[in-house]
């Protein structure tokens, strides 16, 4: 069985273009024009099976949203393969991509910015349908009504504009739009982080119901570990453009192996602060993606780092049980003793 999505060694770099004067410098008596390149994603590989929910977690700047946008081909990846249902779409042009767009749709974080304020709801939901299928207008209208019902809105909402809806309702509209072309994969970039917690629960439940009904796979991007624990089958943890650990959900929460994952899990506040105090308290902040540290990306904040970590970049290695970790500690577990 082919995976719904298979990503191999995805790299996404952005060239910063500050003014000419900022880039110009003297080198050996000659003028030198320097490019500044941000490595937002540095070689990320993973796959998502049909009907599977993979969540990517990490803090701001870790590249999780960039991965989502590169896969949705909002960006053109610098390198790597993105196989969607077997077909590599990493280097297709926008025109060539069009037929594949119906297999993959995106839900965005900000329900206020991701809907055209001048379109009525029925046109917002119908737009991908019109672009993708040769349906007659009567059929489109029927399908829009059915989609709105699926996401918990009713037909009278179809004639309204986005500003007449609350954040949660707008997110429902965005979900209906994504579902309109029957995709197999939905990329959801922080779909509930702009919502109040009671509404967040409604949207998460809706997304789970839709997955069961339509057999959807999700790539779910989030910074919120409790949300991720609720929705994901498998979790990937990102740091500074690298995937540092992936594991099935329960495995990751029960036995996180990468020091960053452990720090992240112990830093998350909990409504039941009964568990033991932070296992790893991180000091300092994430380094700049303009100048990645040598070796391991996490070594500047890692309490265990030793000289090998500065020299050699750890590769993501399968530890069995579906858990993969990119850390030299797995070779020398004795260093992990307190």
């Amino acid at each position: 069985m082919t995976a719904m999505l298979e990503v191999q060694d995805l790299r996404q770099e952005f060239r910063l273009n500050p003014g000419l004067l900022d880039r110009i410098s003297m080198k050996g008596g000659r003028l030198h024009l320097q490019d500044r390149i941000v490595s937002a994603v540095s070689g990320v590989s993973f796959s998502i099976a049909k009907r599977e929910v993979l969540a990517l977690v990490g803090e701001s700047g870790c590249g999780k949203s960039t991965v989502a946008k590169a896969i949705a081909r909002i960006y053109r990846p610098t390198a790597g393969n993105i196989r969607l249902d077997g077909q590599d779409i990493a280097s297709l042009s926008q025109a060539e991509l069009l037929p594949y767009r119906s297999k993959m749709q995106m839900i965005f974080q900000d329900p206020f910015a991701s809907l055209d304020p001048r379109q009525k709801v029925r046109d917002i939901v119908a737009e991908p349908l019109r672009a993708q299928s040769g349906l007659a207008s009567g059929e489109v209208a029927e399908r829009v009504a059915a989609l709105l019902a699926k996401v918990g809105l009713n037909t009278e909402h179809a004639g309204r504009y986005p500003h007449q809806f609350s954040g949660g309702q707008r997110q429902r509209i965005g979900i209906a739009r994504a579902l309109s072309v029957n995709p197999g994969l939905i990329i959801a970039d922080e779909p509930v982080s702009a919502l109040d917690v009671s509404v967040q629960a409604q949207i998460l439940n809706l997304m789970m119901d839709l997955r069961d009904e339509f057999g959807l796979a999700y790539l779910f991007i989030s910074h919120d570990l409790s949300v991720v624990h609720h929705i994901a089958d498998r979790i990937g943890v990102m740091y500074l453009g690298f995937l540092v650990e992936t594991a099935p959900r329960d495995r990751l929460f029960a036995m996180p192996r990468h020091p960053y994952t452990r720090a992240l899990l112990s830093a998350a506040p909990s409504i039941n602060p009964t568990r033991s105090r932070p296992e790893i308290e991180l000091q300092g902040e994430v380094p700049s993606a303009l100048a990645l540290p040598s070796g391991c990306c996490f070594r500047t904040r890692c309490p265990y780092a030793w000289d090998r970590c500065a020299q050699e970049r750890p590769a993501l290695r399968d530890m069995g049980d579906g858990q993969s970790v990119a850390c030299h500690l797995t070779d020398e577990p004795q260093r992990d003793m307190p």
């Binding site: 309702q169 917690v197 629960a201 409604q202 789970m208 570990l225 624990h229 609720h230 929460f253």
Partner: protein
């Protein structure tokens, strides 16, 4: 921690309304609470609950069309509701300090951090220049900023978000205020940085013996930070009490719903319990209980009579005609 009998802050029936063209927004509509010296209280609720407006009202930071309509804010025995601006300016910063959500906008981008810190001391203390500088350096060091002496000359944009929030906290604590109001102080920060900042706030505030009102939507942060919790819905207090007690045995269905909406990694359920519906339009609140349309336990009386805050257990009160008994789900 609640050792003193006379509360530091006593808020009674506070009403802050906004007179807009589309009607009166009763953002805060009859809120009462006490805060003892050294006590940490969480003010929680969802958007539109009125929690931030309560914080702003305490400092007299409500601009037209907003207005404190009625009620009393007794701070150490002194009435602050509609106190003259001159007096409020003396109190802000010295007695009551505020930490805002967004560390990007709460510092002035065109002045150095040192100058902004110095301003606080110049306005509110008698210290001379040298002593002020000394105090600024100490304060920056105590919030965990290395090379403090040098960093005083830096501008806000030269700090990261987490570092900027440290500076904001340092400024708030400089004049040794007795009450600090922190409005979503870590919402804009990443989780590992949030953990650092919360630890820092807890330590520094405890050291100074100050009281804290933590305004937030995040119940998990509240669970780890506060002694007492006050839950707001549509401008009214629906429940208040000691934090562990309220989180473990909430009496108001809204509090129960909020708690249940949060996915709990320790007890994963196939579906989250959700609060149905949405927050009603605050300009046209229904008669009776504002929560009744979303409440599964609502009865006839709920659409007639607005419930008042009634003591349930030791220190815990709820505004509900049919309060939940311990362990009951909404």
């Amino acid at each position: 921690m609640t050792t003193e009998m006379q509360p530091l802050l006593r808020v009674r029936e506070l009403r802050t309304w906004f007179h807009t063209f589309s009607g009166i927004v009763k953002a805060v509509n009859g809120v009462s609470f006490d805060l003892a010296a050294g006590e940490v209280m969480g003010l929680v609720g969802e958007s539109g609950g009125g929690k931030s407006v309560v914080g702003y009202s305490l400092l007299g930071l409500i601009d037209p069309p907003g207005k404190i309509e009625s009620g009393s804010i007794l701070f150490d025995g002194e009435e602050l509701a509609n106190a003259p601006e001159r007096r409020l300016r003396e109190i802000r910063g010295r007695e009551i300090a505020m930490i805002f959500q967004d560390p990007m906008t709460s510092l002035n981008p065109v002045h150095t951090v040192g100058r902004q810190m110095d301003e606080m001391l110049r306005l509110h203390t008698e210290l001379d220049k040298k002593a002020r500088r000394q105090r600024c350096v100490e304060m920056l060091e105590s919030v965990g900023i290395a090379r403090a002496e040098e960093r005083l000359e830096s501008y806000p944009h030269q700090f990261s978000g987490g570092m900027r929030q440290r500076v904001v906290i340092a400024i708030a604590l400089l004049a040794k205020p007795r009450l600090i109001i922190a409005d979503e102080p870590t919402t804009a920060l990443d989780v590992t940085i949030q953990a650092q900042i919360l630890r820092l706030m807890r330590r520094e505030i405890r050291q100074q013996g100050a009281s804290l009102i933590l305004v937030t939507h995040d119940l998990a942060v509240v669970a780890e930070m506060v002694d007492k919790i006050t839950v707001l819905y549509c401008g009214r207090v629906v429940e208040t009490g000691p934090v562990r007690q309220v989180l473990e045995a909430p009496a108001h269905p809204y509090t129960r719903g909020l708690i249940d909406s949060i996915p709990d990694p320790a007890h994963r359920l196939p579906r989250l319990r959700q609060i149905p519906g949405t927050v009603p339009d605050i300009r046209a609140l229904p008669k009776g209980c504002a929560f009744r349309a979303r409440c599964s336990g609502a009865a006839a009386i709920c659409s007639e009579v607005e419930p008042s805050l009634v003591a349930r257990a030791e220190g815990q009160s709820a505004a509900c005609h049919f309060p939940l008994v311990s362990g009951e789900t909404a």
